[in-house]
Amino acid sequence: MILDAKIPEGPIADKWTRYKATIPLVNPANKRNIEIIVVGTGLAGASAAATLGEMGYKVKAFCFQDSPRRAHSIAAQGGINAAKNYSNDGDSVHRLFYDTIKGGDYRSREANVHRLAEVSTAIIDQCVAQGVPFAREYGGLLDNRSFGGVQVSRTFYAKGQTGQQLLLGAYSALSRQVGRKQVQMFSRHEMLDVVIIDGKARGIIARDLVTGKLERHFGHAVVLATGGYGNVFFLSTNAMGSNVTAIWKAHKKGAFFGNPCFTQIHPTCIPVSGDHQSKLTLMSESLRNDGRIWVPKKKDDSRKAVDIPEDERDYYLERRYPAFGNLVPRDIASRAAKERCDAGYGVGSSKMAVYLDFSDSIRRLGKDVIEARYGNLFEIYEKITGEDPYTTPMRIYPAVHYTMGGLWVDYNLMTTVPGLYATGECNFSDHGANRLGASALMQGLADGYFVLPITIGEFLSKDIRTKAIPTDHPEFEKAEKEAQDRIARLMSIKGNKPVDHFHKELGKVMWEYCGMARNAEGLQKAKKMVQDIRASFWKEVRIPGAADETNPELEKALRVADFLELGELMIDDAYDRNESCGGHFREEYQTEDGEALRDDNNYAYVSAWQYKGDNQPEVLHKEPLVFENVKLVQRSYK
């Protein structure tokens, strides 16, 4: 099968404008008769559901949380990029486009990224109009700050809670449509399967998490906006409920999975404190502006940080990357920390942490300045660790943060299943092999407010005569039966180990062999290990309670069962990609001094994996990446 990305003709700067002007649309009278299902209510889902509702479509929106306002977009701290050039520092759509392509290590599609950069400015306008309280200057105009990996200040922010404020903006727009009855909201509902009729996505099977009842919902089209799958690692900065189930089920029904192994590791997270650890907390990247990262020069040094004299400290980032020092990109900072810890220089009780030290900055700028800049982050740190970062260096360690991979989509954001769309983090499209800071929020809202509501017309315009399909259609029945059987099978195992036991085992394998650094041998080993964990999961898991009631353990089991399948695909993908790029670091492919070595001749493609059935190897399809507007160069931060 040849993947057709449906990229419009013409010069890159004109593609979107021209395409918008020529795309088939659905007239208002017909919109009233068309139903659209949106799964997920984060930035991408809430904005899409609200906008589609405003346009006149009948929308059904689903989220597993108790309210659409709680989707994990809410936890994003730093900010949102937009090519407004309010800072007058030479920013432009082209520069944002270029930075994003380069930051993604040349593994994303030019046309999509350019469109993202184009619509970025309208996002800020929209959010301000909704009442999002962005940070402002005394003159009353919007403030910008700089963010990693770029040379302009284009990041809009609302203290350290930008994601929260943007999500609440989208949530309010969504709530307005719910109030107008344009959108029907289904909270505490989890999608368990997509229903395909005559080759088109026509609905979903969802489980009401309160009653345990399975429900059938029809839609002329289905939009997935279900976020990333970082929780395959068990420990990540994702929310506890973040999961892959919706897109995995779509994948099994024919949607190709793009670049599954591209995972972003964030360098500054609070380290693991013990076996009880349930998730990891991110500390904003901005800390690296004033903190210096170091480990002791002596192995297994058990002295307290303050007792280690200056000349016995190894500021390894400053040593290895004199030009960028502590401000190297996320992937490089993360790997360097892992390298030191693996070599035996780690600190803290687990020895899996490095110091982030503010003492120099406090001496230079005074405690007040540091408090003004990072006070709230220092508070979070102290709350979690019980240590005061003003007097003791922070301990940090990298953690899984974002997954660039996701369902393969074309220029319309449609997957390989007609009528099935993927937006936001759950698609693969815009960030290549590495995402720049403050770009995830931009992509989620771009897709939801400005791209999908228009591109979906291309599909729906051909569907205006399709009547709502009754949910007693055999395909609905079949899909519901499959979900029912899977639940019954899980409930009947009645083993002796809780779901988390298997999830933790999976996470350890994924982190060890398919995490920050990968190699062919380890990946082969890991594949077998994941298969074994999956086998024992289906034999030994114990789920208390019943299926027809509120049952958080059953919810977890259904998710982990899918993670156990996804893990194997991530490993296959990492094994296939014999190069290092962005978040994907294959130890065999590095320069002499340990930097990632890309192979543009052989791997400038998107891996799109096709599911072929249980226990069958997946088939790899390649979408070649053509770069007409940027020149591919090796990233260097020395």
């Binding site: 904005s47 609200a50 906008t51 405003e54 949380q65 108790d66 309210s67 306002r69 709680r70 994990h72 809410i74 309010y86 309208a122 306008d125 929209q126 301000v128 109009a129 909704q130 009442g131 309280p133 962005f134 940070a135 402002r136 200057e137 009353g140 105009l141 919007l142 203290k159 809670q161 929260q164 404020q165 609440l168 949530y171 309010s172 709530s175 307005r176 109030g179 909201m185 909270s187 929310a239 506890m240 404190s273 013990g274 009880h276 650890q277 349930s278 998730k279 907390t281 979070i380 709350k383 407010y449 400005f450 509501p453 988390d500 036991h501 208390p544 009631e549 509120t550 958080p552 353990e553």
Partner: protein, 247 residues
């Protein structure tokens, strides 16, 4: 350390509940309160018992999903902290901790410590927004907003909708939650066209949900994990009066 938990167990909204006592002999002080529940649940499941249901998601204090009434206080003994960010080092070896769900008729119990807070969503749906369709917006910098107003609006917008204000209020009043949204939008120029209508509709929706009345005890402000101020309640009281006078 050793911790004894007295936890409210209730199968669903229709059956009555009761307290069960659990003893955890080896709790690490680095655990979060919810991680302690993870450990307890792990044990319960291995023993073949039903695990304790509780709401939680982000576990970094921002999604507002966690909701436990701990030793007589919403989100436990630490001010400015959600349950997920409460760590066991704030308790002592040998402590007995009573854990209950939020209690309010507007927040019916779903199971154990889980409650239904969709009443909050319905209040927002009644008017907690600015009616602006996608694509209608003018340039973001075309309307300057004094920094002080923007900052105040942000402070109100910091509400995470967890419901601690309702849980802690002796009257189960939702005034802090509702006023935070009314106030945020009232402070911004974009919120002015609908200002009068918004406050009326949201108060009406709030009353319909069966929340109690505000006695101005101020407990909500103290227990709010985000420190939302009573200023916002005053602003809503003012706006509501004005909206009724001008109407």
């Amino acid at each position: 350390m050793k911790i004894t938990l007295k936890v409210w167990r209730q199968k669903n909204g229709k059956t009555p509940g009761n307290f069960n006592t659990y003893t955890l002999p080896d709790v690490s002080e680095d655990m979060s309160f919810l991680e302690m529940f993870d450990v307890l649940n792990d044990e319960l499941i291995r023993k073949g018992e039903d695990s304790i249901a509780f709401d939680h998601d982000c576990r970094e204090g921002i999604c507002g999903m966690c909701s436990m009434y701990i030793n007589g206080r919403a989100h436990g003994p630490l001010t400015g902290t959600t349950t997920c960010q409460l760590h066991m080092r704030h308790f002592k070896d040998g402590d007995t901790i009573v854990v209950e769900p939020w209690r309010a008729s507007a927040f019916p119990i779903i199971k154990d410590l889980m409650v239904d807070r969709s009443a909050f969503d319905r209040v927002i749906q009644a008017g907690g927004f600015i009616s602006v369709n996608t694509g209608n917006a003018v340039d973001a910098n075309s309307i300057p907003i004094p920094k002080e107003d923007a900052d105040k609006a942000f402070d109100a917008a910091a509400c995470i909708g967890c419901g601690a204000c309702v849980a802690t209020c002796k009257n189960a009043s939702a005034m802090l939650f509702v006023s935070a949204k009314v106030s945020q939008l009232a402070l911004l120029p974009q919120g002015q066209p609908e200002r009068n209508m918004r406050v009326k509709k949201m108060v009406e929706a709030m009353d319909e949900e069966g929340f109690g009345n505000c006695t101005n005890t101020g407990a909500c402000e103290v227990e709010c994990p985000k420190g939302i101020s009573l200023d916002h309640i005053a602003r809503m009281n003012r706006d509501y009066l004005v909206s009724n006078i001008v109407d």
